[in-house]
């Protein structure tokens, strides 16, 4: 019997396939379907700091707009008594998910500042989340802000959250650090139990007809696996944290590569959004078949087997540019 189990953030998972933060977790029915198809854990969609703040400010703005200006219309909208804002909906959904499925559910928070919003980490823990994925990325536009300052704020944020909660925290990173290994180490030192590589960002497009910048979400493809694959391979065994690979996981082969590079889990969203939850079963079946065919006993056996530390030619991971190198030369060296 092939052993697909793995561990991630202290959680024992039945296999290494995790649904990454996406709309897949918005509905309980979808989550249940994922569980039925065999997914090992679910990372919930992100609760965004920016969204929490904007939602509140927007609601206030539009409810206040034009009020107490004109004698016949002190306001323009009724007082509905209470509003359920997105953090409350989030916590509510989390609780519903926890009740509906037996697999671990990981909460996801997205933000950068250490403001009042981080209390939602605690609320997620109280609501029964098994762990927290902290998604930190700030697009710096201020040219006075140095990389060091920004990095320090990330570390401080992880530190603050670590102090406020007891459950495991994974930090989802962007690939855009000057020195990723150093950053990874500092985040782990600040309290991260795991690192998720990498976040994919919304990138705006330009509409040539209207001359407007337009929002545009493109789903990933397998080619995008390369970037996180390299860094998982590089970090495996160097940082004291679990590693999750996300971005570009679409096939059984992608999952295998992630494991061999050193990931504890492989996360997927685009593929499942495109093909539906049942795709999980196909990939898991493929995984098992491949392992049987190639006589692997367990996932643990292959995890990190092709990390930089484990391969015969570690430099292969270090080259940033394509160069023709005589294979004999590296041997001589």
């Amino acid at each position: 019997m092939t052993d697909l189990t793995t561990t991630y953030l202290g959680l024992n998972l039945k296999n290494p396939l995790v649904a990454s933060a996406s709309p897949l977790s918005e509905k309980v029915e979808t989550a249940k379907k994922l569980e039925e198809a065999g997914i090992a854990a679910i990372v919930m969609y992100s609760l965004f700091e920016e969204q929490i703040i904007n939602e509140s400010l927007e609601l206030d703005h539009y409810l206040s707009q034009g009020t107490e200006t004109f004698q016949e219309a002190m306001s323009y909208l009724p007082d509905t008594g209470k509003y359920t804002l997105s953090p409350d909906i989030y916590i509510d959904t989390l609780q519903k998910l926890k009740k509906a499925v037996n697999i671990p559910v990981i909460g996801s928070l997205n933000g950068v500042s250490t403001g009042g919003w981080i209390k939602y980490a605690r609320k997620m823990e109280d609501a029964g989340a098994d762990a927290l994925e902290l998604n930190i990325y700030y697009l710096p536009t201020d040219d006075n802000l140095t990389s060091a300052e920004l990095e320090e704020s990330y570390v401080a944020l992880v530190h603050d959250i670590r102090r406020s909660v007891k459950f495991p925290i994974a930090v989802k990173l962007s690939p855009f650090f000057t020195s990723l290994p150093n950053m990874a180490r500092r985040l782990v030192e600040a309290g991260a139990n795991g690192l998720v590589l990498f976040n994919r960002f919304y990138q705006p497009d330009l509409d040539l007809e209207t001359l407007e910048v337009c929002p545009n979400l493109v789903l990933s493809n397998s080619n995008e696996l390369r970037l996180p694959l390299r860094w998982i391979a590089m970090l495996h065994g160097r940082v004291h944290a679990d590693l999750a690979l996300t971005s570009g996981v679409h096939t059984t082969e992608d999952v295998l590569k992630a494991m061999m590079a050193g990931a504890n889990v492989a996360m997927m969203a685009s593929e499942l959004l495109k093909k539906g939850p049942s795709r999980v079963a196909e990939i898991l079946a493929g995984l098992e078949n491949w392992m049987v065919e190639h006589e692997y006993e367990s996932i643990k056996q292959m995890q990190g087997s092709m990390s930089q530390k484990s391969v015969a030619e570690p430099a292969a991971f270090e080259r940033a540019n394509y160069m023709k190198v005589l294979s004999s030369f590296s041997h001589i060296r």
Binding site: I53, Y62, L63, E68, Y76, P78, G81, E212
Partner: protein, 1180 residues
């Protein structure tokens, strides 16, 4: 039992009891009673139960007439039923009130008493409405204060159940309905003790039921009607005692003592004022003050006005009285006296007190201030041997000489009461912050507090003045503050416009929000203000609240900052405690909107004190700046002497003689009121302009104009005047887009719609918003020059192209509508196209308020002196009103045509023929006919023949006229629908323009039958569960009505075509125009985008139904929009009215959205089928 104190206004205090003691509540919005209905609806939506544990059923009706009918029916079926109304609404209830009273049915109508439209509409308080129903058989109980409104709502409920006489419980609109005061709340035990279950059950037992059927509402003949009418007398005779008993029971339960007629004053008073409502409070306070100074005066407060108990009245009046002055807050022209006066005269006669000299007078109409000084003036008059009867007080009646003199400086207010005035800008949060301050003071200290708020009649950019009193004693003073220890001015530029410190007391404090620092502010304030500060020895503080607001993300909302300053300076509470309480109230007010809002307000509070400075006041006036005149010197005399004084807040002092006697006012007066309300205005970049004119087309305030002209005109142009080569083949020369900088409200719709982008910097367009102050002077000069350039000859313009509309002069400009209003561009367009020959009938609502609320009116005239005539009759009858105009035009046109041939010898055969056979289908034809009519008049002037004179008086009717009937959806879908349907069905040539905002916008966004499913509105706080009525489809069903549905933001061309076709159609037409609105909770700058989304999502299909096509054998319906391309949710969830349902009840929101999607889909499919039907010949 512990007392529960609360700070609330009269409407809430009343609605609280009404909701507790009702099973069915039928409502309809009308100022100032709307909020009672809103509270009832919100509480029921929140499942708040009544006294018996069930949630009252609240239903909005199509009119007050409908509400009264529903109330009548609900009562007949046995429910405890109530309604709320005022003014015209109460008048619409009269027929049912007779029935309800005639049938001895227990109910209470709660009325915030308001003026009735006569020479003008007024939303403010007096007793004109309630006095108009005194004959219906309802008992009438008058509350004088917020506490009484709360208490009497219950006493009336108890009394109606026992007496079987229906009650009208009323209190003064605005003064009591909107005054916030600290009152003691009645707890449920008291309500339960007052409202006997046994009587409730008896009420039910009297109901109609098929289980024990009987007939009520018969028709009777001369033999019996009279006798049957007299059967009720014993019930009326018993009612005064029943009410007094209820008051006595209430006293035992609460300790608050009331009587039918309450006398206060010297026991041996010789002069007594009789009054009712809040004015009686003022008289009461003043009498006590005068008593303390030895004057033998008193006040008799009338609480139960109907049934009028002569016995109780006589008993309450001291025997020492020699003169009585009866005050009526109403006017009954032609009567021997006003109603209360006549009742008192009668009561004195019947009680054999003919020794008393009685005079009567009018006061306080339309919330006119009624002050202790006026009361003193009346008491002084009563000392005279021959006091003036039928007097007025509070105005200067220099026509009929009715007014009494008084000394405005007379002041009775105690030093123990702190009085504060706050001048704010609408929507800056000043009022809200002051309401919170009252709550803080009222709830967190032992002080009593009172707040009253005065607003502008403009819908944006207007002033608010908050009047706050607090002190150790209950505050009764129902009049504005005239001696304030603290004055705050939250807008620096108010100093240039108003005498902000007029009411400041010597030694008081002045707080100013200033962009200038404490060491430089002095020389920036007008000399007049400096003089007052010095003379009154005011302590002067400044804060740059805008800086603090900006730094803390508050934007332009400076409320909490100024509130913090107020507490810090006034010392009502120790600073630390005050800040803690402010924060507590912020949390309470904004908490449910999310943490971020609370935090931002906290930060604003925290940063305030470091920015608050005291200014060292110099001994001398040094400023070279002066307060500006309200209107420029070149304004016409009437504008300067009347309208200008209203603008300058001096309207109270204008004498009667200055006013038109019949409510007729000149057009074109907004041009004199330079409001300067926007800090940003658009600036034109000619090099990018493609001259499309879309900016001019969409501008809600007609502040951006386009013109082509001969290049010679530029000879005297100001240096900064911009122009470019004209792109019109038919109008070569120069072209200019010009902005009226002082009239622009800064909505930026023009910038949004501008399609011309800079290819090297796409964010820059041909129009861009820039700061106004630096270009104000320059652009004012340019605007004046632009206006001096001749208009293009209208007869040469091809009006079918959107581009050309910019060349047509708008005759509707600078209205006081909201910034970015979605309605006004349509009205402006109609005045551009047909304004010089248009008669407008305007339903009451937003369009009548920004259309004609004094001081100024936006309808204007062209260079020939022609322009739209405009009038407003009522809310409910506008279609009929407009039809009447058409009937006159048609009749007089017909008559003129009839007599014209008989005058051929005077007029000339050729001219007669030309006049009778004129083709007036276009501007050229109309122009030619006008010239003929001018010639006709000339020729007729030469003869004395009676017929010739007759013809001359109606000769203008030979020129084609256009009748436009305007109003919102509240009118068209609800209250006026019956008339609208009839007028459309009449086949007459009228044009109806429905400005569809999908809510009653003017009264604050109550649902109408136009409100779409899934949207939240007032009176539909749970989200509207049923779909929008399809008014267009109903109209199409007649077959001979031109119908169009338009949305300017989706297709300006289709809008234009619809207007032209509707007007050209010789029959009834209706245009339903999507009008984005502030009540939708949208970014008004994106209003046109929302219009477009409404269309592309399939929610608002564009179409034209032209019966002319059917006559040609073609399908009359043309669908002008394409298959939906956008999901409905992408359109609706851009709007707070939909979003808030998701936040308040997500499940219901989802269900309703699904249904709304179905609505849109099936409507689209249905129209598609209709448009595809064969009418015999192929479609065009």
């Amino acid at each position: 039992m512990t007392k529960r104190m609360a700070n609330l206004d009269g409407n809430e205090a009343t609605a609280y009891i009404a909701h507790k003691t009702s099973e069915v509540i039928a409502i309809y919005p009308i100022t100032p009673s709307s909020t009672m209905g809103e509270f009832a609806d919100e509480w029921s939506a929140q499942k708040r139960p009544n006294l018996w544990g069930t949630v009252p059923l609240v239903i909005e009706m199509q009119s007050e007439g409908g509400a009264a009918g529903a109330v009548h029916g609900a009562l007949q079926a046995g429910a405890l039923t109530t309604t709320f109304t005022a003014s015209q609404g109460l008048l619409l209830m009269i027929p049912n009130m007779y029935k309800i009273a005639g049938e001895l049915t227990s109910t209470v109508f709660h009325v915030s008493a308001r003026s009735i439209a006569a020479q003008a509409l007024s939303i403010f308080g007096d007793h004109s409405d309630v006095m108009s129903v005194r004959q219906t058989g309802f008992a009438m109980l008058a509350s004088c204060s917020v506490q009484e409104a709360h208490d009497f709502a219950l006493i009336a409920t108890a009394a109606t159940l026992e007496s079987r006489i229906p009650f009208l419980h009323f209190f003064d609109g605005f003064r009591t309905s909107a005054e916030v005061n600290k009152i003691e709340m009645i707890n449920d035990d008291v309500i339960r003790a007052m409202v006997s279950d046994e009587l409730v059950q008896k009420h039910r037992a009297r109901a109609l039921s098929p289980e024990h059927p009987y007939i009520r509402g018969t028709a009777q003949n001369p033999d019996v009607y009279f006798q049957a009418r007299e059967t009720v007398n014993p019930f009326y005779a018993a009612t005064p005692a029943i009410v007094q008993n209820a008051m006595d029971q209430f006293y035992r339960l609460t300790g608050r003592k009331y009587s039918l007629f309450y006398y206060v004053g010297a026991p041996d008073a010789e002069r007594v004022i009789v009054a009712m409502g809040s004015g009686a409070e003022t008289a009461y306070e003043t009498a006590k003050y005068l008593n303390a100074r030895g004057e033998k005066v008193g006040v008799l407060v009338v609480r139960l006005y109907r049934p009028f108990s002569v016995a109780h009245f006589a008993q309450a009046l001291p025997s020492s009285v020699k003169t009585v002055a009866v005050l009526d807050r109403t006017k009954e022209p032609g009567a021997a006296g006003e109603p209360l006066y006549l009742d008192v005269v009668n009561a004195l006669v019947e009680s054999r007190r003919m020794d008393i000299n009685v005079i009567g007078g009018r006061y306080g109409l339309s919330s006119k201030e009624f002050t202790p000084a006026m009361v003193k003036g009346i008491f002084d008059e009563m000392k005279k041997a021959e006091p003036k009867n039928h007097f007025t007080i509070g105005i200067n009646d220099d026509v009929s000489q009715t007014s009494l003199a008084f000394d405005p400086a007379f002041n009775i207010e105690s030093d123990a009461t702190v009085r504060c005035l706050f001048w704010g800008l609408g929507a800056d949060g000043t009022v809200g912050a002051n309401k919170n301050s009252i709550k803080i003071i009222g709830e967190e200290t032992d002080n009593f507090a009172q707040g009253y708020f005065v607003y502008d009649s403009k819908k944006s950019g207007g002033i608010t003045i908050s009047h706050l009193r607090f002190g150790p004693e209950p505050i009764r003073s129902p009049y504005l503050i005239s001696h304030a220890q603290f004055v705050a001015c939250h807008q620096f530029n108010f100093l240039e416009k108003y005498d902000v410190l007029k009411s400041a007391m010597t030694g008081g404090t002045f707080l100013l929000n200033s962009t200038y620092d404490s060491d430089e502010v002095w020389n920036h304030i007008p000399a007049e203000t400096q003089k007052t500060i010095i003379e009154k020895k005011l302590k002067f503080y400044v804060i740059n609240a805008y800086n603090v607001a900006k730094a803390t993300g508050m934007g332009t909302r400076i409320n909490t900052i100024m509130q913090t300053c107020f507490f810090a300076i006034s010392g009502v509470l120790p600073r630390e405690e005050a800040i803690e309480q402010i924060k507590k109230s912020i949390k309470k007010t904004y908490g449910k909107r999310g943490e971020a809002v609370v935090q931002k307000n906290f930060e604003a509070v925290d940063q305030t004190l470091a920015n608050l400075y005291e200014v060292t006041v110099p001994a001398q006036v040094t400023s070279v700046v002066n307060r500006l005149p309200a209107v420029p010197d070149q304004a016409p005399e009437f504008v300067k002497n009347v309208l200008g004084r209203i603008i300058g807040l001096d309207g109270d002092n204008i004498p009667v003689s200055a006013f038109p006697v019949d409510g007729t006012y000149p057009s074109g007066t907004t041009q004199w009121e330079k409001r300067n309300i926007s800090l940003e205005v658009p600036e034109w970049v000619p090099s990018l302009c493609i001259q499309c004119g879309k900016c001019v087309f969409v501008c809600p305030h007609a502040v951006i104009r386009g013109k082509v002209y001969d290049s010679k005109e530029l000879a005297n142009a100001p240096a900064a005047f911009k122009s470019m080569e004209s792109k019109w083949k038919e109008f070569p020369g120069k072209y200019t887009i010009q902005i009226a900088p002082e009239d622009c409200t800064g909505c930026a719709l023009c910038v949004e719609v501008c399609p011309a982008k800079d290819k090297s910097q796409v964010g820059r367009k041909s129009l861009n918003m820039v700061p106004q102050p630096p270009i104000r002077e320059q652009e004012r000069t340019n605007w004046e020059f632009f206006q001096s350039i001749p208009e293009v000859d209208r007869s040469q313009i091809n009006t079918r192209q959107v581009k050309n509309i910019q060349l047509m002069e708008p005759l509707f400009e600078f209205s006081g509508a909201c910034t970015g209003c979605g309605e006004t561009p349509y009205i402006k367009l109609l005045t551009q196209l047909f304004g010089d020959r248009t008669m407008i009938a305007n339903a009451t609502g937003c369009s009548s308020i920004y259309g004609a609320n004094l001081p100024t009116t936006p309808y204007t005239v062209n260079r020939d002196g022609r322009g739209p005539s405009w009038s407003n009759s009522l809310f409910e009858d506008n279609a009929e009103f407009g039809l009447g105009m058409r009937l006159t035009i048609d009749k007089q046109n017909e008559y003129a045509r009839e007599i014209l041939p008989s005058l051929a010898s005077v007029v000339g055969e050729e001219l007669v023929a030309a006049l009778l056979n004129a083709d007036q289908s276009n501007e050229t034809g109309i122009k030619a006919q006008r010239e003929r009519v001018a010639l006709l008049k000339q020729r007729l002037a030469g003869t004395n023949e009676a017929k010739a004179k007759d013809l001359a008086s109606i000769a203008d009717m030979l020129v084609r006229k256009s009748v436009w009937i305007l109003g919102g959806d509240g009118w068209a879908y609800d209250i006026g629908y019956g008339g609208l349907d009839h007028v459309l069905a009449s086949g007459r040539n009228v044009n109806l323009l429905v400005l569809d905002t999908e809510v009653y916008s003017n009264t604050g966004g109550q649902a109408s039958k136009s409100t779409p499913r899934a949207a939240v509105a007032k009176f539909a706080a749970q989200g509207k569960g049923i779909s929008k009525k399809d008014l267009g489809l109903l109209a199409m069903s007649y077959g001979y009505i031109y119908v169009a549905r338009v949305a300017m933001g989706a297709s300006d061309q289709q809008t234009l075509t619809a207007f032209l076709e509707a007007e050209a159609y010789n029959g009834p037409s209706v245009i339903i125009a999507y009008s984005h609105c502030i009540a939708h909770g949208i970014d008004m700058r994106k209003g046109l985008d929302q219009q477009k989304m409404a269309v592309t999502s399939g929610y608002w299909p564009l179409y034209r139904y032209n019966p002319v096509l059917a006559l040609e054998g073609k399908n009359p319906l043309t669908l002008d929009s394409k298959e939906p391309t956008v999901a409905l949710k992408d359109y609706v969830y851009n709007e707070t009215r939909y979003q808030m349902l998701v936040k308040s009840d997500e499940e219901r929101a989802q269900d309703l959205l699904k249904l709304a999607e179905q609505d849109a889909r099936s409507r689209w499919e249905y129209y598609k089928q209709l448009a595809a039907m064969s009418y015999g010949k192929e479609n065009h």
